[in-house]
Symmetry: C2
Subunit: 203 residues, 2 copies
């Protein structure tokens, strides 16, 4: 079955070729799931985009749900998993605004996240565990951050770190959906900055 | 084809019978779309649930997208369209908390909303116009409310009514998703109350 491919000259050896195919499949799956959701996107669509058969595709990712999880992990490698800002000294407001502005440049990635996250609440969805764990991790991470700010006297009295963490994450997700539907009417970064300026006291 | 049914005694006449079937189809479609999304749910699943053929079902709703829009309109009749609190004198915080508590009792309805809303950002989704218009209407409605509160001196200085409106709606949507995935870890009403107590000054 692989005779033809093996007969062609390879400049990079089998490992890099395989890595390259995996990347191409991930990019195609990303586009298909963003455009149609996980349930609406088909493996055949993904295979068609990379010009391979479904059987070949399944050699790289044994099932559609494996492909989904690989796409989600790949997405984290593009946008970060939301908990590790590159510069630990960066201020929370600056880090959030920087990420929100970056996200505005990659609407397809935001669309994928929005669709798969919401879909994950449905029956037996293979992304459910990923998103449940992601939210747990994000809530813990932002709670820690808000507690540090409270210790520095920077959190407005009466604001609970746990509630502020869940609220910031929820606002971010919700405003992305509004922005995807009406980018000209919604100021994502402005809403996030507005919230953080409410809960944080000036230095 | 309808001989058998016509031969059965009918106590309510053809109109109410038809209304009853429509209601049964809407309830079934609601359950199917909430569990699998619009793209993942099939007309056959809906037809199976009400024990009719797909052909009979299409007599009531000519297409799957017609059925989707009817389900969304029906949902509004259960939860309200978000802009008309039953009591115009009710305080904003009370109205929001009351609705959030009500929503906790109907997780299936929230699941439907969450899934279809996110799915609507995908290519050529028949719900896109519904959700775009819904968010426009909600933003306008809450902006008016926050402006009234600003006129009464109740809005914290520096808070923009437009941004507060988009933020409240976004927070509400986002916190519902977190709650659906981890109901024991997320306090929906508490987060909404916390936000409103930040932007509103005490009377």
């Amino acid at each position: 079955m692989t005779t033809k491919a093996a007969g062609q000259p390879s400049r990079r050896g089998p490992y890099s070729k395989s890595t390259e195919r995996r990347q191409a499949i991930l990019a195609a799956a990303h586009a298909v799931f963003a455009a149609h959701g996980y349930r609406g996107g088909s493996l055949q669509d993904v295979a068609d985009r990379v010009g391979m058969s479904q059987t070949s595709l399944l050699h790289y990712f044994p099932s559609k749900s494996d492909l989904l999880l690989a796409v989600l992990t790949w997405r984290d490698s593009i946008t970060g998993d939301g908990t590790t800002p590159p510069d630990p000294e960066e201020k929370l407001v600056d880090a959030v605004i920087r990420q929100a502005r970056f996200n505005e440049e990659i609407p397809g990635v935001i669309e994928l996240y929005t669709v798969l996250c919401a879909e994950s609440v449905t029956d037996r969805h293979p992304g459910r565990e990923y998103f449940t764990e992601r939210f747990d991790r994000l809530r813990r991470s932002y709670t820690r951050r808000f507690k540090e700010l409270a210790d520095e006297g920077r959190l407005r009295p009466g604001v609970e770190p746990e509630a502020a963490a869940a609220t910031l994450i929820a606002l971010w997700d919700g405003i992305q959906t509004q922005w995807l539907l009406a980018p000209e009417s919604v100021d994502m970064a402005g809403c996030l900055r507005g919230y953080l300026e409410l809960v944080l006291l000036p230095e």
